[in-house]
Symmetry: C2
Subunit: 594 residues, 2 copies
């Protein structure tokens, strides 16, 4: 089936829910206006639908290969990447002085959602370039920017994040790769790294690796890690490419999904590298990249969910079985059976909620940098920090869930690989794992983001939700209002409970036990809040006689679907949040082995 | 990692929760006693661990092939099947006069759980023989029993269920295969069938197909379908095999998982067949097989979940990352991190609940047939009917969920196929689809099972739950009791709501919209009820100074984990149950396409 990028919904969400007009109002994006927003999304849609989506299946079937220290991507991928770069898609949000288009991050994320939906394995390549760009913009020297940044922004080279080692995954403090100063300001980098996404390929002349490693005299643990830049080919002072550097891919992994994305084991054998930022502060420097990448992974979750939804909806319109209780038609399309309609309705509602969360996080990131006054920037930074783990974890869980529902809508055909639904189920499964597992996101949320400002960002969020809640009775009566009211109250209760627990040093296990359920609660309710905002906006448009009435009415119905099928989860989240670490401690390893 | 069949837990669940002693007390199983139960489970464990588990990965990697109208299973599978048959595993519950061991169904299901856990693709082959045996026992003529049944019971031949056609999946009434009388009492069967599990292979001399087809003068729709038996090789009056019959596999499907199970497209081209049962009543005859198969598929869900759980637990004990908040150990095994412990604890609780539901359904099926008085048989039949869709749907959803959690526990390694966790995630995904999708199960539950006896079976269940609830304060105080009380109340409310809605012919869409959430609610609460029964039994054992104290204490903790992490879901199920069909009707296709 043909992928159609959800351009109208992306534009609506950016405007009505995420509030991109506030970003425009900062004046930091001189070229940006609503027309440009539409043009960028249309062009992204055209590329994603026309070039990337048709390669999705061949990428899955052929995957990439690693022979003699060189990776060959799946057929068509390298050529598609070069078209992508030529179209300027790697420089949307980069600074103008590096050749970028200096557009809002939020718009870039929306454009990339179409890329990930069309071809998630492909999208990883530019996604990691964007993270590299962000790290160099923040921590690179002028010379590094001059040499590497412009090439990354133009897409002539790609970037890779090089963190994980076999013994150092979630715990990067355990990594052992080393970088020894040569004496001329450069370093020799040695070690083996795993799970290096697009660590090698033949789509570009050069590849820039951002690598975490230890200096010879570095302290043990996370405070002895530095960030280095090394490139596949050495770059001369005049920017020309020299000889191949001393690192290469050892193999590509045989994975459950995203076969089109080469996941490399990389060996660095005295590779010439440069320090980026300050010695022993690599982990905090890398966090700049990781936070951007985490939000981008959330958008992957939205993209794959959108794709799976479209695929399932198309099948449900074509596939005919049995009599519809609504239409009375025999041999009716299965979309006219309530249980299938329910599945599709919940899928659509969750996709819309996840999209709104991710794009709102993007707007928060834009405003954290560009809001006119310091207080506003601080407030938006707090929102961005609070939302990033939710955007990553909640949206990628939605990706897996919706992809699985998509398989289910297909019935037996869903299990047959040729149908295509199974690929989304396989591809989607990586997103809750990489860039920090969703468990790590939850710990980041409760351990750092929730309390870094004494809980102020969470309180601001609750206040914003209550503002929406106050308007809701204009639009709905009864349960759709009650459910949101209960949900906001649950967020408030859970937040207070957690802040209390965090204040007691002995309750560390209680906090960590609650983390996942708290993140899910916040995601569920934030998603509902955003769909409520969308519904209110739609109502205002309808009242003003603007827009497509049926489409806008759909937004009003969508919140009701979400309220009935998702917001009801809040009480189960509360039970889980409050269970306490002591209970799990009693579930000892002996009991687990049982 | 090595699979260990959960023999102790299977025996405990059969006794403490499912109540297999009541089955023994009927006197219908002369050879059965508690010692035999232990011996059967130990022997099943030995075979599953020693022969089947080691073939699981090769089955996934090599799959089966179809060349020139013959299917070759994955390496080792045919030989393993012959060992399996020689061990008597295809005749555990069959009648003694057919060569069976006449043991309780519930025990057979427990033994087969170890088979499915060890190698789900393999287990499908004998599972379908068992369903064929049950159909022939019920509807076969003496001659058919003589010719076919004994060979199926001995495992010398295997059986296959042949229902689906491309246009006839959930709606079997749409099938078009035909059977034309030849005049000598046999029929010529013509048509194409899809999704025929183990429809062809080389493990046995012959294969018996139970095929749904239409007689020439049959009415249209579901009331014109008859059940036929046809075999790969014709069988002479003396039981010797004759020439190959006119049907063959056209291809095997390329599937997401269970690669070791050949899923055949079958062509019947005038195959000689016999009628089974009465003309035009094939669908109801086939339901005998389907109900047995549905429960068996539920057990597959339990098996794959158990396997995924064990795999994840072993990894979590080996893999070391970061400092444990409990032990203070740095580089601690990840099982000592609360979020991983939570995942594993919830996995274990859900596996135990699903196991208890399936084995209790098996006991109900045994008692429905063999309880001493008519009233008791009727009551147990009602329980079996009510539980079958729950056992199938809830347990297979648990299979997918636990397999996905297992991938998550592995972090990045979970996405690498060599690790093995990904195979369970792929294999598990079929179980919510085949033998009637879980949506079909939910419709069966609310459309037929709930009201066939005016709701009496549901009321009986609620009464049984309340009996357990009354005992719970002996063991727990506070939330573990409250949560179950709320949960039982929710079941009661939802059941009354549904019975009311069903009484109103105009509310058909409301009922169908509620179906999935009602099944999930009933599954969640029934699972909790069973873990509560297990905890009470464990407490009694402890009080009597019997058994392994630590293991029994674990059962008491497990209910608490389930109560905190699952029973809290009830309120969200209620919101979904009550949403009404009108809301989904407003989510029209236009809105969905958006």
């Amino acid at each position: 089936m043909t992928f159609r990028a959800p351009v109208r919904d992306l534009a609506f969400t950016l405007q009505a829910v995420a509030g991109i007009d506030q970003v425009a109002a900062t004046g930091a994006f001189p070229d940006y206006d609503a027309d440009l927003l539409g043009a960028v999304l249309e062009a992204a849609a055209q590329f994603s639908e026309g070039v990337l989506a048709p390669l999705n299946r061949v990428g899955d079937q052929k995957g990439s290969t690693c022979v003699n220290g060189n990776v060959t991507p799946a057929p068509g991928f390298s050529d598609a990447y070069r078209q992508f770069a030529a179209g300027g898609w790697t420089g949307l949000s980069a600074q103008a002085h590096s050749g970028g288009q200096q557009l809002p991050k939020a718009l870039e994320l929306a454009a990339y959602e179409t890329v990930h939906a069309a071809n998630m394995a492909f999208g990883l390549c530019p996604m990691l370039s964007l993270a590299t760009i962000e790290a160099l913009e923040t921590h690179g020297t002028d010379a590094q920017k001059e040499t590497y940044l412009t090439k990354l922004v133009s897409g002539e080279w790609t970037g890779a994040m090089v963190l994980t080692e076999p013994q150092a995954g979630s715990d990067l403090g355990a990594l052992t790769a080393t970088a020894v100063p040569v004496g001329d300001g450069t370093y020799k980098l040695t070690g083996q790294k795993i799970f290096i996404t697009w660590g090698d390929h033949d789509a570009t002349d050069n590849i820039v690796h951002m690598v975490l490693a230890r200096l010879p005299d570095a302290p043990a643990g996370p405070k002895g890690i530095s960030l280095f830049l090394t490139s596949k080919y050495l770059v001369g002072a005049d920017g020309t490419l020299g000889e191949r550097n001393a690192f290469h891919p050892v193999s590509v992994e045989h994975k459950l999904g995203i076969h089109g994305s080469p996941t490399c084991v990389m060996a660095y054998e005295g590779a010439i590298a440069e320090l980026v930022g300050r010695p022993n502060e690599g982990l905090s420097h890398m966090f700049v990249m990781m936070n951007a990448a985490r939000l981008a992974v959330g958008v992957e979750g939205v993209g794959i969910a959108e794709r799976a939804y479209q695929h399932a909806l198309a099948y449900a319109q074509e596939r005919k079985q049995g009599r519809s209780v609504w239409t009375g038609q025999s041999n009716a399309p299965i979309v006219d059976h309530p249980d299938v309609r329910r599945l599709l309705s919940v899928m659509k509602a969750k996709v819309a909620a996840a999209r709104a969360i991710c794009l709102s996080t993007g707007v928060a990131a834009d405003l954290a940098q560009h809001a006119p006054d310091e207080a506003a920037r601080k407030r938006w930074k707090g929102r961005e920090d609070l939302f990033t783990p939710i955007a990553k974890a909640w949206s990628t869980d939605v990706g897996v869930e919706v992809a699985s529902m998509g398989v289910q809508v297909h019935g037996g055909m869903g299990f047959i690989e040729e149908t295509g639904a199974a690929q989304y189920y396989r591809d989607a499964r990586i997103a809750p794992i990489y860039e920090g597992t969703n468990g790590i996101q939850a710990m980041d949320l409760v351990g750092r983001k929730l309390s870094q400002d004494g809980g102020q960002s969470a309180r601001d969020l609750i206040a914003d939700m209550k503002e929406t809640l106050a308007k809701l009775p204009k639009l709905y009566s009864g349960k759709p209002v009650e459910r949101f009211a209960n949900a906001v109250e649950a967020v408030e209760d859970a937040t207070m409970w957690l802040l209390d627990a965090k204040a007691d040093a002995k309750r560390g296990a209680d906090v960590l036990t609650a983390a996942d359920a708290y993140l899910k609660l916040l995601g569920d309710v934030t998603g509902g809040w955003m769909l409520a905002k969308a519904a209110l906006w739609a109502r205002a448009e309808l009242d003003a006689g603007q827009g497509d009435p049926a489409w806008l009415e759909g937004k009003i119905t969508l919140y009701e679907v979400y309220a009935a099928n998702v917001l009801g989860h809040v009480s189960s989240r509360l039970a889980t949040i409050g269970q306490g670490g002591a209970l799990l401690e009693r579930m000892s390893v002996d009991v687990l082995v049982g």
